[in-house]
Amino acid sequence: MDLTLKIWRQKNSEDKGQLVDYKVTDISEHMSFLEMMDVLNEQIIEKGEEPIAFDHDCREGICGMCSMYINGEAHGPDRGITTCQLHMRSFKDGDTIHIEPFRAAAFPVIKDLVVDRTSFDRIQQSGAYISVNTSGNTQDANAIPIAKAAADEAMDAATCIGCGACVATCKNSSAMLFVGAKVSQYALLPQGQVEAADRVLNMVKQMDEEGFGNCTNTGACEVECPKGISLENIARMNREFLKASL
């Protein structure tokens, strides 16, 4: 298929940036979206120009690195997938595709489609862990009985890969789905409940300091999340925060 691509080009974080038009031809419907980008970059390199910078790593939907906003949606038009899992069969011959970086004040553009998501790392560092005594007397995790429902919900929350699609798609650039998932995956398990109060207070404080917006419950994050993280995690974070504060 032949496509017209309108891709955000930005030399560095200081550059104003703009959408630039590219044409690609003979794109197979079996290609992944990132493979199509690779083909385009080869064309650009052959012309002696600067290739388009974009984040990618595992290319199997688990690392959370790819981060494109495609035709007005994080990770493109399909549901429950990352950009690397998006295939060209989701588009038609002759389509024009808009490709932009994830937008948020807390996700500044580094170059082209690459954004700085280290704000997520700092939120994680502020509380998304458990303190374990490694002196040799550590209790075997499998020896602690956990209700099946709690284990399942914690596992669902833990599938968050921290890609930032929730922030990118939120009209307020809110990170509450991400933080809600991280708070939940520990709050649901006995190992995490010991530090639950400090964790939620510190993570919400860090989230606010990073400049993310407020959640207004549009639910867009839940729809666009490649791992199907539920809004129930935001509600749980709110409860945990109120319980820890009051």
């Binding site: 035709n71 808009h98 948020a104 004040a105 404080k205 407020n214 419950n217 504060s245």
Partner: protein, 223 residues
């Protein structure tokens, strides 16, 4: 505690709590208005009680005004903070693919409701304050009978006012369609009852504003 008050979650929760209060107020306001369709005397009696009872006038009324002002001011504060969090807009943003128009435009439906409240204050509340607190007339009487039902009919005789009511309550319905369940989510209530609550919220969001509109049209046609 200061960290709690300035946190994003505390702002969400305070918006939700003021919303619960306003939604309850709306329900009782509707119930009182509805009596005007069935009995002028009952409407007059209830209106006179609400307009002259010291507990309503000096305790509940200030709480109501605080609730309204707080909800609007906090709404604007949240909007400003959210604008700061999204410095660059997308060239193409397909919001309709993942969320409702009502949920994405609460600030605009809220502004339409604010415009209506200004009209309602000029129409109803300022004359009431003038009659009771400046002229000192707490009798509620006019030409030998309680004045409230007559005033209500007189207001809705003007078709422009009825049209303004219809438009305002359309935006109120949009605001409630998202706001009702959003308030529950904000206070952390997302559980096995949420599905049923969403259905109830949609019915509330449509039927209550529709009821207000029907009452206005009824009095316009029967004045």
């Amino acid at each position: 505690m200061s960290g709690f008050i300035s946190s994003s979650i505390a702002r969400k929760v305070s918006m939700a709590l003021s919303a619960f209060f306003l939604m309850f107020f709306l329900l009782q306001h509707f119930a009182i208005n509805l009596t005007s369709v069935f009995s002028a005397d009952v409407f007059n009696e209830i209106s006179h009680f609400m307009g002259t009872n010291p507990a309503v006038q000096f305790a509940l009324q200030p709480v109501l005004i605080f609730g309204v002002v707080f909800h609007f001011v906090m709404g604007f504060i949240l909007e400003i903070k959210n604008k700061k969090a999204t410095t660059v807009k997308y060239a193409v943003d397909n919001g309709a693919a993942n969320s409702t128009w009502a949920s994405r435009n609460m600030i605009y439906s809220g502004l339409a409701i604010l415009a209506f409240i200004v009209l309602h204050f000029v129409d109803f509340w300022f004359p009431e304050i003038n009659t009771k607190f400046i002229q000192g007339d707490w009798s509620g009487m006019h030409d030998g009978e309680l004045r409230y039902f007559h005033e209500l009919q007189h207001k809705f005789a003007n078709p422009a006012r009825v049209i303004a009511y219809v438009v305002a309550f359309f935006f109120l319905a949009l605001h409630l369609l998202h706001g009702f369940n959003s308030a529950f989510q904000s206070v952390g209530a997302n559980n096995k009852y949420t599905k049923g609550l969403k259905t109830f919220g949609k019915l509330y969001a449509i039927l209550i504003p529709l009821g207000f509109v029907c009452i206005a049209i009824f009095h316009h046609l029967n004045h």
